[in-house]
Amino acid sequence: MNSYRALKAKEVELALAALQERLEQCPRMNGQHAIVLARLEALLATFAGELLTVQPVVHDPAFQTLIDFTLNRISIFLSIVETQFIRGLATPSQEELFLRAIFLNCLKRLGLDWIEDMVVQGSGELAIYPGLDKSLATPAFHVPTGLLDSFLSLPGVYHEFGHSVFARFPSILAAMQQMNRAYFDSLRGQLGPMQPAIRATQLQRFQQAEEFWSERRLEELFCDLFAQYISGCANIISMIDLSMAKGRPTYDMEDSDYPPDAARVRVCALALAANQANEPSTKHLLEEWEEYARQFNDSQFYRDSCPESLLRQFGQSVFAALASKMPNLPKTQGPPPDVKVAFTPAKVIFFEDAIHQGCAVLAWRRDNFESWWQDARTRLQ
């Protein structure tokens, strides 16, 4: 008997076999990508098993929708493996392999020890595919070509690592949501006597502001704060660059995935320790950004949703959660190091230190930055 489901099942079976063959052909010199490949191969073997299991009922009308769900889900996974992993596994460039080694070392030092291996794939923008089939062990990391030439964007690597942390500790989202609810509950509680119509309008404003903080926006805000925790003043420079380089309106509330740039810069600035906030170079840059932001008009909706008091509380909540969930995660407590440190001879330089030192060189010895960075990147570890 023939049926659409039978045809589709055959198509999925063929696509699965083709992908299995491509994985088999991936280079494995010196154990390169061994864990990622083993994991993907195991996943595809599971799907092959699922296809075999449902085969006897593939024509049965009582199971049609469930067969559709099964085939669609497997197709989606195959598409994910194809788009996120295969190119970086099959034909990795020297740059991709170099960055993979640096990122894996960095992850180990930061204590993200659940990540066992990764694929780095040049795909045009900085991004991460953190989890596959419930496992955060083997992410795919996407980088723009020449990532290391864009020094100001390097703290963005931590932002991407942050997505893995956010997925690893669901209680962080719960804490942020709880804090958001408590904040607006408190505002509602402070409303004094007023006419019912005015009260209703006020309550509606609070409701809309509270709902603005969707899970997606909270996740991005968390990732900004995660990068802030690790890289302090360097992240502020990166956030300012993110806001100013593309000329985006700082108070744009329309993006359903991200908070407005103004909230992202400010939440990080508010999380600075006093000695970081008062560091002359950081202070100057923040003043410059505030001046830049003034050319755009904020809205009542922005002021309701992203007041400084709420942003400050988000920062405190995330920093407390990180200290509790990841006690070994190094927090940058102070301002950028003395620029002399950057020019002290050293055989190797850790990625995290390179970011700190590079910011000091950019601030105080800008003319030497190019030669410093050309040398430092060959020593990166």
């Binding site: 469930l66 991460i128 997606r216």
Partner: protein, 137 residues
């Protein structure tokens, strides 16, 4: 920085849920149609399937009653039901009955399984939409 990180986390969670519920519904449907042996499933698998479905519906019911969703997957279901002109509280009532039957080890009817499949279908549709976003990045 791109939104791939959160998009993929959401997608993966969604696919997990759809996968677990599909397997559970397969087992319940197989029991209903006498196909457990054909699908190589045991009564133990049916028990696990009942527990999976009860857990899912238990989490969903208060969302349908209060129309407030903290989790993305619940928000998707609530949105799609509302857009389809359905009363979420009616669905909560129906799901409440299904939970009682599953807990009492009573068989569930085909129509009841279809009802659960409809909300799982919403999640599947959202996953397909997320993959489309992934491709268009």
């Amino acid at each position: 920085m791109s939104s791939l990180g959160q998009l993929s986390s959401r997608l993966d969670r969604n696919l997990q849920l759809v996968g677990e519920l599909t397997k559970a519904l397969l087992a319940l449907r197989a029991q209903l149609t006498g196909k457990l042996e054909v699908l190589k499933l045991s009564p133990d698998d049916v028990d696990k399937a009942r527990a999976t479905v009860v857990e899912f519906l238990n989490g969903l019911m208060p969302v349908l009653n209060t129309k407030t969703a903290a989790l993305e997957e619940h928000r998707v279901i609530l949105d799609k039901l509302s857009k389809a002109g359905e009363q979420p509280s009616d669905w909560a009532d129906d799901f409440g009955k299904i939970i009682e039957q599953l807990r009492a080890n009573k068989p569930v009817e085909s129509e009841q399984l279809n009802k659960i499949m409809r909300v799982v279908g919403y999640l599947q549709g959202e996953a397909a939409e997320d993959v489309r976003r992934l491709r268009s990045r």
